[in-house]
Every structure is written in structure tokens, then in C-alpha cells.
Symmetry: C2
Subunit: 133 residues, 2 copies
């Protein structure tokens, strides 16, 4: 059974919006997948080939979790064997200010960080929260 969604809910720690956001996104990989989706990547192999080298079992797990959270959607681009392309939902596109804030902070305060042209272009358009669909 591919694309398996879990029925269980991990239960939130509090109703604080920051805590709830971290319950969903608070790990070292989830937002990197979101970043790659913003850059136009859409397939498993593309995420796995990124410079950070995400382990493939973690990648598969995070794709399921992010889909469960409504942040991305998967659509089959071929039937046999089933293969999926991933894309951000509106909820996922709304994460752009978070990525922009993280990137801005690192560029200012963490030595030896640099945004490649594709990321710079993404951050340029971060101010507006409602891009044309």
C-alpha cells in the first residue's frame, strides 16, 4: 500500500501557534523538502539528490507526513508502477514567509551561508503572501 496515511494523531503539546507549527515542521528535514518544492522540484529522486543528502527512508516518511498535514499533495503521473509527483498545497505555499525568515536570519547571523540564485529568486517574492495561483 503506497501513499499510506497514518490514522494516529501524535497529539499537540499546547495550543500555542508556535508549538503547533513545530509539532508539524519541527525537525531537520521537513522544511528542506518544502524548500525544494518551492524551487520547482516534484519527484522523489529529485529530493533525494539534494546537496543535504536526505536518507531515503526519512524522505519517504516525511512525504507521507507532509501530505497528512495537508502541506503537499501527490498526484500519480504514471500508473504502473505507480509514481507520484509532489506539489505544495495552498497551506504549503503559505510556508514561504517561514523559509524567508529562516534564510534571512542565517544569511545575517550564520557565517558561510549563501543563497544560490534559485533561492534568491524565491526570497525576492517572499514579501507578498498571495501570489497568483
Amino acid at each position: 500500500m503506497p501513499r499510506a496515511s497514518r490514522p494516529s494523531k501524535p497529539a499537540r503539546r499546547s495550543s500555542c501557534p508556535i508549538s503547533c507549527a513545530l509539532d508539524i515542521l519541527g525537525d531537520r528535514w521537513s522544511l528542506l523538502i518544502v524548500r525544494d518544492l518551492f524551487r520547482g522540484l516534484s519527484r522523489y529522486g529529485e529530493f533525494a539528490a539534494g546537496p543535504e543528502g536526505i536518507p531515503t527512508n526519512i524522505l519517504a516518511d516525511r512525504l507521507v507526513r507532509l501530505e497528512d498535514a495537508g502541506i503537499l499533495t501527490s498526484t500519480a503521473y504514471q500508473q504502473n508502477p505507480p509514481r507520484y509527483a509532489y506539489a505544495l498545497s495552498a497551506k504549503g505555499r503559505a510556508l514561504k514567509p517561514i523559509l524567508a525568515a529562516l534564510a534571512g536570519w542565517s544569511l545575517q547571523h550564520v557565517p558561510r551561508t549563501s543563497a544560490d540564485p534559485a533561492l534568491q529568486a524565491l526570497l525576492q517574492t517572499a514579501g507578498a503572501a498571495s501570489p497568483p495561483a
Copy 2:
């Protein structure tokens, strides 16, 4: 030896600013401590008493890590036994837009989240990112 700093560096995954930010902040607790510091809390017991219930060993570990990362500073407010008050550095205060973006996203997209008055006041003074009109 209290306030022990570690000499070892975990090594960053890439030079991407988002990846580097997550190397430092990419877990479920670090930014909650930063949030509490923004709210004016400064002592170990105050952090431990928060609604999320951070385990005390994790709290102690994160305080050391955040200090190592230059995000917070600890100053002794009594000598024997040594007791420390924690405060954000400039680097830590620069994290406010990240907290604001996380909170804004949750309030809009995660059901049953609510910012208490203290957090609302904090988000009011955020650089300029989230209020969606």
C-alpha cells in the same frame, strides 16, 4: 562543571541558509525556549513550567546548545550554588521574524491554535510579515 560548552561541531549539511538554520534550530524545543525568552522568562524553572512540559534534561541540553550557538547568554545571578539567568543575544533577538512567521502560519492554517495576549503583543512588534488583513 556546569554551563559546559561542547568543543565538537556537528558539521553543517550544506551552505544553504535554510539548511544551516535548521541545523541549529531544527527540533521541537529550541524555538519554544526562544519564544519564552521573548516573553520575558529568564530562569530554568520558568522554562520547565511552560505548558508544553519540556523534559528537564532536554531543557538543560538546549540551553547549552543555544548558548554555544550564540543565541542566548547566561549570567550568574548568585554564586553559591551557581544560578544563571538566561537572556537573548542580538543574534537571538533576530529570530523574532521566524517566530512571527511560524505563529502567523499556524493561526491561519492549523485549527484550534490561539495566541495568548502576551504572544499577541510580541507578534505586534514583529518586523513586518504576518498580519494578513
